[in-house]
Amino acid sequence: MLDLYKDIIIDHGNNPRNKYIMKDYTHTFNGHNYLCGDSLIIYLKIYENNIKSISFSGAGCVISVASASLMTIVLKNKSIDSSINIFEYFKSIIVSGADINEKFSNLNVLAGVRKFPSRVKCATLIWNTFYGAVNVNK
């Protein structure tokens, strides 16, 4: 159980960072998890291909909210290209159980989700929403 609901995940789930509605975003997207009905909105301020500011709003389970909170911390000031690479890394550790790269400790705390296949969609909801924002609003 602790593999999934680590203290840091509960903390980010209950007290998410960067959870606010951004007014002056350049990119936004509304992501849905049709399995449970949860929906998260992402807001990005992107200048010269760099994420200057990132936030999210909406409601979800501990896993989806913690994942969103942690993502905002990791992606701030990253370029779009490296953000997409980080998304690929994140998917690889929780979907296909790839090796952990110590560089991403803020994301690796979610690796336990791999043992809970029905919850993978919770952890990837905000990432797919991010992907939607940077692709739809290109």
């Binding site: 449970c36 501990v62 896993i63």
Partner: protein, 407 residues
Amino acid sequence: MNNKYILNLRNKFPILNKIINDYPLIYLDNAAITQVPNQVIIALSNYYKDMNANVHRGVYSLSEISTKYYEDTRHKIKTYINANSSDECIFVKNTTEGINLVANSYVKPILKKGDEILISQIEHHSNIVPWFLLAREMGAVLKVIPLLETGDLDYSKFETLLSSKTKIVAITHISNSIGTVNDIKYIIDISHKYNIPVLIDGAQSILHTKIDVQKMNCDFLTISSHKMYGPSGVGVLYGKKSLLDKMIPYQGGGDMIKHVNFNNIIWNDLPYKFEAGTPSIGNIIAFGETINFLNSLDLNFLYKYKLELYNYIHEKLLDLSTVKVIGNPKVRTSIISFVIKDIHAHDFGTLANYYGISVRTGHHCSIPVMEYYNLVSTVRISLGFYNTMEELDKLVDIIFKSKKIFK
């Protein structure tokens, strides 16, 4: 309470001995699927060992035996629901397929632009989507009996929703999401006053009470084997013969015709004209054994026992200040949806599973009900004859635990 009787019953279900994450399985998702007793598992296995052959086709021994057992199941379900004749019992793959059959073979041929189909707000998606598709295709209107805050249908609106254009009323007997028992006698009586046929979705009610289709006087009833301790992949559509006779098959294939040439086809007799292609023979034969199993039980005792279990957990949940039970319908049974303050249903579901408890979380294929209550998802428990009060106590323990873990 006769504990020995329930213990004996539990022993007939091998899966109930299963250990999940070091804890004994507590299975509380019986509205989705019920577990299967050993004698049914053996019957399914024996079919493949002893008689696997297509039905109604061969003159050889295996086919004759499988045909006999297949038709025996039809006779058993006919007796179980007290249909007038076996011809009125059509094998389908589940309740959903039964509803689609009625939509396409009964309603579609008589549905004109502007005609109406009446359902309710408390339906499972399976009793919404087939009608939505049909209404859209034919330019018909889908009307909905509204829900009240209590979780009861608003019967005061019912008669005003009927008109000379209403071609069918399709309604569930028991809500799969919040356990409301609908007053189908009222629905059927009033609909018949206007000569409108009624389809009853019996998926949740077939093991709630004795179902007698002649007494109920429904025009169609659909049920699923996998919600009555039988295998999945089998359902039954009951229809009054006078209606079935007039209906045109919507699926074509083998076994449902008497003669085929490229200019004309002669349909097979009832019930075969609606059973196109090779059916789920082994599962249907095992479903026959399921009915033997049900007939061996003291069902009146078990209906009462399940209601006692329901009242027990219902009261316990109402006592918890952090739990909100959804709906408070006048007559209800077996199924409870609830939310826990500040805990997402899926987080609770994962935690419960960690302790061996299978509960359902989400919208339960009833998004219109969830939206009515302004909810995205709930935790749902649904009871079977083999559940015990001790199991329900453990569920309550986990609710207390969840408050500690997620705070």
